[in-house]
């Protein structure tokens, strides 16, 4: 069913202006409601790929979001549909208060007044940050800032939520709280991560991107259980961790 594809990439190639090739022909489909982990060593091109999804980078090949091609003319709608949560919440949160930051995206889409307020309230409630709406981002803990960063994107009601290293720099409790929030969201998720247990917990499907190509695509359980595959791509399960057997 082609119409149930949220993301559809064909032959995506990209080289940086300095000539360094980052992507060597990526084909990828993500269906509605899927939770997909994008794994790969540093420098594999994961972040470059993410920035193709909303047209920040544009190379050869085609990218479609909900059937809409990523082209200059469609950028506003594409950026509404693809919600990217960046790795450092300080890069994402730049407004004086939490509520204003969450309002930034939907306001760029033209929402104003009570409709905009409702969006902000809804998104903050989804990440459990409603009570902090009038605080300044730098007065929040790191974990709270990451949750607000998720809210800034949810407020645009994206078709797909894309997260770059969501568990990085979080303490264990904040890591678990974020997982609880993500599991509770009814949204298509693409998660770039090195945190393999997190990928197993949150995503049923995993991809390995290495040297600019997708080299493995399967269930997260299968991929994490294949030690030789992981080792070929500089991926390792943490010490003492084994993929639980059974369902």
């Amino acid at each position: 069913m082609i119409d149930s594809m949220v993301l559809s990439l064909r032959g995506v190639r990209f080289a940086y202006p300095d000539g360094r090739r980052a992507l060597h022909g990526v084909d990828l489909d993500v269906r509605r409601g899927e939770r997909v982990a994008l794994l790969g060593p540093n420098g594999a091109g994961k972040t470059t790929l993410v920035l193709h999804l909303n047209g920040i980078h544009a190379g050869e090949g085609t990218v479609e979001v909900d059937g809409l091609p990523v082209t200059k003319a469609n950028l506003t709608e594409i950026r509404r549909r693809v919600g990217i949560v960046f790795q450092d919440p300080d890069d994402q949160l730049f407004m004086p208060t939490v509520a204003e930051d969450v309002a930034f995206g939907p306001a760029n889409l033209g929402l104003r007044g009570p409709e905009l307020d409702a969006r902000v309230d809804e998104a903050l409630a989804q990440v459990g940050m409603s009570e902090h709406r009038d605080r300044a981002p730098h007065h929040l803990s790191f974990g709270q800032r990451r949750r607000v960063a998720v809210a800034t994107v949810l407020a645009m009601r994206p078709s797909v939520l894309v997260m770059d290293e969501p568990s990085s720099n979080l303490d264990p409790a904040a890591r678990r709280e974020l997982a609880d929030i993500l599991l509770g969201l009814d949204v298509t998720l693409l998660m770039v991560t090195h945190d393999l247990p997190y990928a197993l917990q949150l995503c049923e499907r995993a991809l390995i991107l290495d040297a600019g190509k997708i080299t493995a695509d399967g269930t997260t359980r299968e991929i994490l259980a294949d030690e030789a595959l992981l080792a070929r791509h500089r991926l390792e399960l943490p010490y003492g961790f084994t993929v639980p057997t059974g369902a």
Binding site: R80, F94, A103, F104, G105, H138
Partner: protein
């Protein structure tokens, strides 16, 4: 830096002045200061009335005079220069305690001290009663160019982040035996400052990409709160209105 120092000038409590929208307070403060500057310096009584007007605002804002006085010291360098004027000014002189003082110099000193103090107190009152982010909102509503309020907003937000980065880099230098007091170690400090600049630059790029990803197309959406009501404008503009009347009377007498 940023909000860390914001409380240096802001007094967070509730008062009639605190509740006024920022744009009317900015307009009142700037209007008052301009009219004070325009008042002829010879009309000393007028400056007494101005001081009284400010005292009323101070009381309404529930700001302690001592709190204000400690912050007025910022104008001391200017007042000290003004104090030299009577000794070096030319023209007619008067004798006082065996000193020859220039009359124009005395008037000049009085002019700088009185107008400077009134202006500084008025600005301090504005800062004390208005959080710094609201000041930006107010400037925005007064149609201050968008690009300036945006730059100021980014400075406030990222001043904090960069300050923390600078502090971490300093701790890392100290941890490797660096001691600030040696002059020859200035090089490490300068390299650190350069690294901080590069980091700020890279962060700027990342912030911009994150903004683009949320649909930013070069124009910041106008957000936040309701604009001032006519009654609030009227209340705030009473100050410059009375000041204007006094200034006019002073100019005509």
């Amino acid at each position: 830096m940023g909000a860390g120092h914001a409380h240096l000038l802001h007094l967070p409590h509730d008062s009639a002045v605190h509740r006024l929208p920022p744009e009317v307070k900015i307009a009142a403060s700037v209007g008052f200061t301009l009219l004070v500057v325009l008042t002829p310096r010879e009309a000393m009584w007028a400056f007494g009335v101005y001081a009284l007007l400010l005292a009323i605002v101070v009381a309404a804002a529930r700001v302690r005079p001592g709190w204000l006085l400690r912050r007025v010291v910022i104008e001391l360098p200017f007042v000290l220069i003004a104090l030299l004027l009577p000794f070096f000014g030319g023209g007619e002189t008067v004798h006082w305690l065996g000193l020859n003082l220039s009359v124009t110099g005395l008037y000049g000193a009085w002019n700088i001290a009185a107008k400077g103090t009134l202006g500084v107190v008025s600005s301090l009152l504005l800062a004390a009663t208005t959080p710094v982010n609201d000041l930006l909102t107010g400037l925005d509503r007064l149609r201050c160019p968008r690009v300036m309020t945006q730059i100021a907003g980014f400075m406030l937000r990222y001043g904090q982040v960069l300050g923390e980065e600078a502090a971490r880099m300093r701790v890392a230098r100290l941890s490797r035996g660096y001691e600030q007091r040696f002059l020859w170690q200035l090089r490490a400090w300068a390299t650190g400052a350069g690294a901080l600049f590069l980091r700020a630059f890279e962060r700027g790029e990342r912030v911009y990409v994150a903004m683009l990803s949320r649909g930013y197309a070069g124009v910041m959406p106008r957000l936040g709160g309701r604009p001032a009501r006519p009654a609030e404008w009227a209340a705030a503009l009473t100050l410059p209105a009375v000041t204007g009347a006094v200034a006019l009377a002073a100019a005509l007498t």
